[in-house]
């Protein structure tokens, strides 16, 4: 019987080729989106799972507000370097503790020089201490974990980097010269180990680990702090809940001590809801819990919802077409029942049929994935693979689960409906009228269109928001402005200023692409005001092309500008109040002395980050009074269109001064595009998914209307004989579907409104909720639905009624 059933299933599919193709193709598309997402999730979940020994490895998180994007307290990955020592000496459970460089993003990498070859910039070369490989269980291909970083001035390479630099891994004992910044003299490091590249991604990713000796000790002066990543390996039986309580106590003592040394009071610092904190988190959870943004899972939630919806749309097509086809299958069911078939057997038969279609879809889906994966990887900046996946087995079992799930979801209802047909009514021939499942089918069509219409509305709103962002005034002129990754050196700056076409050469601690926030608290008329401080050179604000609202910006004419004048942005000015020009405020420096600053100008807010973040209240100063910082920006504003020529001239000057370190720079136009990139990527995906979802829904509607038209052939013929015109017939069929589509539209409006509003709320700078996309989506969906149904209805309407009636 099984073989025969398969044969019947196959013949049925063949007989209804078009619908089968729609079913299977649609399901394959839905599955593809879903499986791509699965691949992505698997990849994200696989972070730091490359060795079973990682179970005992933990990251230290310290609660502080240093270098946080909003100047507020967070559980940071970067900790005070002294904490490593604290744990090593006070926590008996810690087997090993190590300090590693963080990815600061100030530069793209370090310059490596092997023998006399040209220097190459290699990213992710991290400095650590002797314990790194005692904490992280990397597999050594050359050298050993115990000995590799035993001495200072050593380096351990990943296999991939060794191959890139030398073409072999047999390089123990060779030296590499490493230049970390432009004016660095360079250090010669001896290669003492080569480790294998793990199969799975790592949150502490590196190309090489160095031990220069810098990480071996902490600053002696308690007011100087180094921040770095701290990891520890604990002994097996550690209970982290208890451990974290101990850590918290240790930390409070440590902090009191440290603040004492800085002549600050613990109680003064930790007021207004601020609180000290130190904890360990298992390394597997590091990747999913980034300190400031939401983790990948939260970010991916909308995408997961969308791909689940897409799968649902295709499954709905499947159910609808299967129940619509049931008219054709009813007789088979009735006959089989009187021939002695159990209902159970029939249910199985129909389930197997849908399983057959799912299997074909799944194969198509695998092919599709192979086809689209390169584009997907490129677009989402990942490196996923299906067949060369280290988790192939997991993947295959997930696919099998998905197959069972989809088969049951899509096949169970039709199978149940079909196997429940009553043989008497079927064999009497009146099964078409008593057909069950029409209500459900209508609900499913409505549901499908709700999804599609919501998609269309969302695209509309997103498109408008992104047009708004693309055209929004940034508050500075982003054209003809580049940022070289280096600090301001007078001799280099003077050389650049001599190049014709160069207008300004300047530096600032904060610029788009390198938004480094330095918080400070000032006193104005007795009130404390929290500000973000930016240190600039005299030319920086004109170089940026900011707009002056009141007063003036810095200029050489005013001697005082290098002493104690400041410029505020509008956001800061709003905190101070009115009539600010000429007013002064005070700030206490770390020695306890109060410095007085005078406000000389107010500029329009300008953006350093994406439009999702509000511009911080910021004070700009040229003076070094109250401390300065340096974040490796050298702004060059030029007024020539010969961009390439200019850059090569600048590079020539660079090579003369700094031959050992290649020049790195970005243009502000690129930085701006980069700030929009994530959003654009998200939008492209929504657009792609929407198109697929809408086309699937329409295909479904198309096939469904065909069936309905077919089922009503006789009715149509009779009506025509009675004198109905073709238009009247088409309208008759359209009316039933149109009601569904309009109902779907009415339901999607509030749903789309809520979703889109939530999305818009994520932007500090956004458009008002537009009405246009809502109306457009409704018009589009109605028109397309009418067109789709009309094609089928017309076919049915124009056929000769005699043909239909002759059959009886």
């Amino acid at each position: 019987m099984f073989k025969l059933n398969l044969k019947i299933a196959w013949r049925n599919l063949w007989k209804n080729k078009v619908y089968a193709a729609i079913n299977i193709g649609g399901l394959a598309l839905g599955l593809t989106a879903f499986v791509l997402m699965l691949l992505y999730i698997n990849h994200e979940e696989s972070y730091d799972t490359w060795s079973t020994d990682l179970k005992n490895v933990y990251q230290i998180r310290e609660r502080h507000d240093f270098f946080t994007p909003d100047n507020k307290e967070h559980w940071n990955e970067i900790s005070n370097s002294r904490i490593a020592n604290l744990i090593r000496s006070k926590l008996p459970q810690a087997v090993a503790v190590t300090k590693v460089d963080n990815d600061w993003g100030f530069s793209n990498g370090f310059s490596l020089k092997v023998d006399n070859a040209d220097p190459v910039i290699i990213s992710k070369i991290k400095d650590s201490d002797s314990s790194f490989f005692k904490v992280f269980p990397y597999q050594f291909l050359q050298g050993s974990a115990d000995k590799a970083l035993e001495n200072k001035e050593t380096i351990v390479l990943k296999e991939s980097l060794a191959m890139q630099l030398f073409g072999t891994t047999k390089v123990l004992g060779k030296t590499i010269k490493i230049v970390r910044w432009r004016s660095d003299k360079g250090t010669a490091l001896t290669i003492t180990g080569i480790v294998a590249d793990p199969k799975f991604p790592q949150s502490v990713s590196f190309n090489a680990i160095t031990r220069t000796g810098n990480k071996d000790k902490d600053p002696e002066n308690p007011t100087n702090n180094n921040y770095c990543l701290v990891y520890t390996k604990l002994n097996k039986s550690s209970d982290t809940a208890v451990l974290n309580q101990t850590l918290q106590k240790l930390y409070v003592d440590f902090k009191k001590n440290l603040l004492n040394g800085q002549k600050k009071s613990y109680n003064d610092i930790y007021k207004d809801g601020k609180s000290p904190g130190l904890k360990v988190i298992p390394i597997e959870t590091v990747h999913s819990n980034p300190p400031y943004t939401s983790g990948w899972f939260d970010k991916l939630k909308p995408v997961m919802a969308i791909s689940a919806f897409l799968l649902l749309v295709s499954v709905i097509n499947f159910i609808n077409l299967a129940t619509a086809q049931s008219v054709q299958r009813a007789k088979e069911v009735g006959v089989k029942k009187v021939l002695g078939s159990y209902k159970r057997q029939l249910t199985w038969q129909f389930l197997i049929e849908s399983a057959m279609q799912s299997v074909i879809s799944l194969f198509l889906c695998i092919i599709l994935i192979e086809v689209v994966l390169p584009a997907f990887n490129n677009h989402f900046k990942v490196d996923l693979s299906f067949w060369h996946n280290a988790q192939l087995f997991v993947m295959i079992s997930q696919l099998f689960g998905l197959f069972v799930f989809v088969t049951l979801l899509a096949g169970f209802y039709p199978a149940w409906i079909l196997s429940n047909f009553n043989p008497v009514s079927v064999l009497k021939g009146n099964y078409e009228n008593g057909l069950k499942g029409i209500a459900l089918r209508n609900v499913l069509v409505i549901f499908q269109f709700i999804i599609s219409v919501t998609f269309i509305i969302s695209i509309g709103v997103m498109e408008m928001q992104s047009r708004y962002m693309n055209n929004k005034d940034l508050g500075f002129e982003r054209g003809n402005l580049i940022n070289i990754k280096t600090n301001y050196e007078d001799d280099f700056a003077e050389r650049l200023k001599k190049i014709p076409g160069v207008e300004y050469v300047a530096t600032t601690t904060q610029i788009m692409g390198n938004a480094f926030n330095v918080p400070e608290e000032v006193k104005y008329k007795g009130n404390a005001i929290n500000l973000n401080t930016v240190t600039v050179t005299m030319d920086a604000l004109p170089a940026l092309g900011v707009k002056v609202m009141q007063g003036r910006i810095f200029s050489k004419e005013y001697k005082q500008d290098t002493v104690n004048t400041v410029v505020l942005n509008e956001a800061a000015a709003n905190l101070f109040g009115k009539n600010l020009i000429g007013q002064t405020y005070g700030k206490v420096d770390w020695e306890g002395k109060t410095n007085i600053f005078q406000i000389v100008g107010i500029i329009k807010n300008y953006h350093n980050e994406g439009f999702d973040k509000a511009v911080l209240p910021t004070v700009y100063k040229v003076t070094s009074l109250g401390g300065t910082s340096n974040t490796n920006n050298l702004l060059v504003r030029f007024n020539t269109s010969k961009y390439k020529e200019l850059i090569s001239k600048i590079e020539n000057e660079w090579k003369i001064l700094y031959p050992d370190f290649p020049m790195e720079y970005t243009s502000m136009d690129d930085e701006f595009s980069k700030s929009l990139e994530e959003n654009n990527r998200f939008m492209n995906m929504i657009i792609l998914f929407s198109i697929v979802s809408v086309s699937l829904s329409l295909l479904g509607l198309f096939a469904l209307s065909t069936f309905v038209a077919k089922r009503r052939t006789k009715e149509i013929a009779v009506r025509k004989v009675l004198g109905a015109s073709n238009i009247q017939i088409v309208n008759l069929l359209n009316k039933s579907f149109l009601t569904l589509v309009i109902a779907a539209n009415l339901i999607s409006w509030p749903i789309a409104y809520i979703i889109v509003k939530k999305w818009l709320d994520g932007f500090a700078y956004r458009i008002d909720m537009p009405v246009f996309p809502f109306i457009a989506a409704t018009l589009i969906s109605v028109i397309i639905a009418i067109l789709t149904v009309s094609i089928q209805a017309r076919k049915a309407a124009v056929t000769d009624p005699v043909n239909a009636l002759k059959y009886e």
Partner: protein, 231 residues
């Protein structure tokens, strides 16, 4: 073989009972060939459906092979279909997606008959009904008469003890109808298969040996054929 006691069947709509069958009491013995006749709407098909356990009577008692089958569960009923009852329909009701061969094979598969026995039985039936050449065709490639032959072959495949046929020749020309009736008569006489058919044609009814006349749900007359022929 079949005993009906006081069978009643009604449909209620808007609180009013519409009787289709009333006080039907009769016995049909093994080896009989019974024709049910009567005007349209009299309840013939309903009675046959009740006999075939496709419908349940609203009231009354039905014994099939000395077993009360008035309220039978699905499993037992299907056992009866597999082993004792064969259906023949006016509209043939062959499965469109199966070939002639497969249509005849289906009941044997449900009965879990071994493949060699299955082959020989089907070959036998094809041969007997002269449709060997058509075995790989699909129903829509056959004439109505040929389809009905396949329908009967299918009903016989499981070697039932009774065949229930609702207007088996209703869609056929008289020559074809005659062929089918002769076949029924032969099966009844030579193999002792009990046959109950619904028919509108006096002529077809006379192939059997007993006629039940039904009007308005009531058995009006129950006559042996030889008698009616004589009169």
């Amino acid at each position: 073989m079949i005993q009906l006691k006081n069978i009643e069947k009604y449909y209620s709509s808007k609180g009013i009972k519409h009787y289709v069958l009333r006080h039907v009491t009769t016995t049909i013995k093994q080896g009989e060939f019974v024709s049910i006749m009567g005007p349209s709407g009299a309840g013939k098909s309903t009675l046959l459906n009740i006999l075939g356990m496709l419908e349940e009577p609203t009231y009354g008692n039905y014994e099939f092979m000395d077993e009360d089958v008035t309220n039978l569960n699905e499993r037992k009923r299907i056992e009866l279909y597999r082993n004792h009852i064969g259906f023949v329909f006016q509209a043939y009701h062959l499965i469109d997606e199966m070939t002639v061969y497969e249509n005849i094979e289906a009941p044997l598969l449900y009965k879990k008959i071994g493949s060699s026995e299955r082959k020989s039985r089907i070959a036998d039936l094809l041969d007997r009904f002269n449709i060997v050449a058509k075995k790989d065709l699909f129903p829509n490639q056959l004439s109505g008469g040929q389809q009905q032959l396949v329908g009967i072959a299918r009903a016989l495949a499981a070697q039932p003890s009774i065949i229930l046929a609702d207007e088996p020749t209703g869609n056929l020309q008289s020559a074809q109808a005659e062929e089918i009736m002769q076949l029924f008569q032969k099966l009844n006489k030579e193999e002792g298969i009990t046959i109950i058919q619904v028919t509108h044609s006096e002529k077809n009814a006379e192939y059997g040996n007993r006629i039940l006349h039904i009007a308005d749900g009531v058995v009006k007359d129950d006559v042996a054929v030889r008698d009616s022929v004589k009169i």
